[in-house]
Amino acid sequence: MTGLTLVFSAYFYIAVDIFLVGLLLKIWKYAATPAPLKIPLTPAPKTTVGVGSRMFQEIVLFKSLFKSNKLLWVGGYVFHLSLLFVFMKHLRFLFPSTPAFLDNLVNFDLYTGFILLSALAFLFILRLVIDRHFYISVFNDYLLLGLLMCIATTGLLSRFWEGGGVRADLPDIKVFVGGLFTFNPGTVPDNRLFLTHFSLIMLLLIYFPFSKLVHAVGIFFSPTRNQVDNSRVKRWGPWTVKKPGRAGSPEPVPVQPSLIVSKDTPDS
């Protein structure tokens, strides 16, 4: 094993660990924090199925954003959708021979990388030109968009720039990446473009759980959206703890009468 291989393999495992552990801890925390009072933003669905549909529209269609700001919706939607496509296309590097559906996807869709980059640039520009958006942006907002743009650019260069040599090295890259996932890292291809692309992605993974990127999981826990409007008919224990990992709403917990009529000094 060369030194380079060691460095990049270690980098990969550390990044992925930080990403997974960090994100799981966040999810755990969100799930375990109680929601003592029901605060669905009304009009809200009165059934769990209704809430499922509301969440679907929020997560898959960005409905609230659509209501609010069409320009941002287009930018944000195109960005996330192309990110999803690009991500799926990457799955082919995990398999020694590309599965047919991925092959079709890759052949069918040549341009999502460009669209991704343009959408990111669009979002970046919006932040600069809309005065209100400029006011609320902090450095890290630009940093993140910048990082994603660098990832997209190096990715596009890998695919479309012969001089980068990534296409030529692709078989080696596949072996290396496949090896990482089977805990049997092969030799890392000595290709600068690839290594840059790879490193930037690891950086993104490390940054993910500590930044606003946790919105990707946080949105599932957003009480204004994921709660059923049923508190008039259903009773919720004041400090009901949602058991982590259990889907749906907590069972109502009977409240001690002493709690209900408590005349104690308020907590301060």
């Binding site: 954003l65 005065d131 209100r132 609320i136 902090v138 826990f221 508190s231």
Partner: protein, 520 residues
Amino acid sequence: MAEQTVDKTPAEIVSEAKQNKAFKAPELTGEIFMPRVEEGLIVKGVTADVKPHMAKPEIQAKLGFPETLVDNWEEVAVRKLGELLEKYKSLQVYMDTCVRCGSCTDKCQFFLGTNDPNNMPVARAELLRQVYKKYFTTEGKLFGKLAGAHRLDLKVLGDWYAYFHQCSQCRRCSVYCPQGIDTAEISMAAREIMDSIGLGQKYVNEILGKVHTIGNNLGMNPKALAATLESTEEDLEEETGQKIRLPLDEAGAEVLMVTPSADFFASPHVESLLGYAKVFHQAGISWTLSTAASEAGNFGMFIGNYNQMQKVASRVSDAIREMKPKRLIVGECGHAWRVAYSFWNTLIGPFDMLDPKYPSPQHICEFTLDLVRRGAIKLDKSANDEFTVTFHDSCNVARGSSMGDRPGGQFTIPRELIKASCNKFVDMDKDTIHERTFCCGGGGGLLSDEILQIRIQGAMPKMQALHSVIESDGVNFMALICAICKAQFTKIMPKYGIPMSVAGGVHQLVGRAIELGAKA
């Protein structure tokens, strides 16, 4: 993010609030005007000095809060924030997930009215988030300012006190937030933290004290209440020739009616009380008000304090035990209805001592409309022919509660009731009603005169919408179902050149239209 604008001690905060000069309302054009930086209109910190009075030590003590700013306030505040993060999923999630997409920036009436960018919901939330980042996140600890983290210093505290009291907790921003972030939750948490270090707001905390000691927000003692109701009853008999009752503390009545204390004598609130009385009278349903529960409002919500909210609400369960009614009905009040509909069952339920045939609690509009639909009472629409009516969706009803059993009942039920009481009804612009309604500008504990400027500015979008239907359709009555909205609008509308008689209750219309005597 934004660098800070004030560097003042709490004592200075108080003295400054006093200098709040007479503020002139802008001219109405019917359009809601978007402030722009290029035109020099967005000015950071223009309203940083418009702060409400601080609560006096004795008021703080009554609620169990420190009397004045504690010495180690930074430490206490950070500890309190940590506690709240563990108590409320909303706060925990919303501190993390804002992507600063900016989609909420033009949605808050206080930003539109004041042009102060700190009143953009995300910027308001960021005032707390910068502190969260500093003390609770790796990102903030590592990157500091670059990540938008900031220590909780006096400047930040000054900004908290100003801007978390320029938020009416109306939840309009949440409608438009792709992450569902509810700035109301954040501003409740911030107020709870400020109370915990001895920095309370006078108006709200004083009122909470009054509820605990006297029994209602207006501080009306039981004797005065009985006397007022009695004389109102006499007036009512004189006016209608019928013996319409305003019963107080009558155990065994079928309905316990809990209504904001403003309904007992404030104008135009009392007109709605007369409306309720006529409805009960005509439907032949016995009812009673209660001295113990002579307040539907619950300011505990405004300061984000669970125990205060529960303590205030428990007066209602006490009254139920005492009066043994079958049904529980709530009068016209926005935040009260949110607390009642969404929180009461949890705070003071279960209501198994009430008749399970009826929803508990029930909104007076649900109750009256049901009687109208069943023909149990008759309304003569022509009694309101002098009015062209519009309806203001009070935000706490619109976005924090519901009516009936279908989503959106809180919009259709009051409108159906209004349409049953009058011939001419028009809605305001679609972006200013239903879930998109703008706040009256006085909710969430802002109904205090030293911040009148904020109230006038915050009311601007709604005033524009109203102006627009006044011009186009000759609207001369805006029906309301919120005590705070009524108080706010009657005070603010004249500043915009709209007569205050335009604001009134939904049951004011019902009371005028109801056919008394002749039973079908």
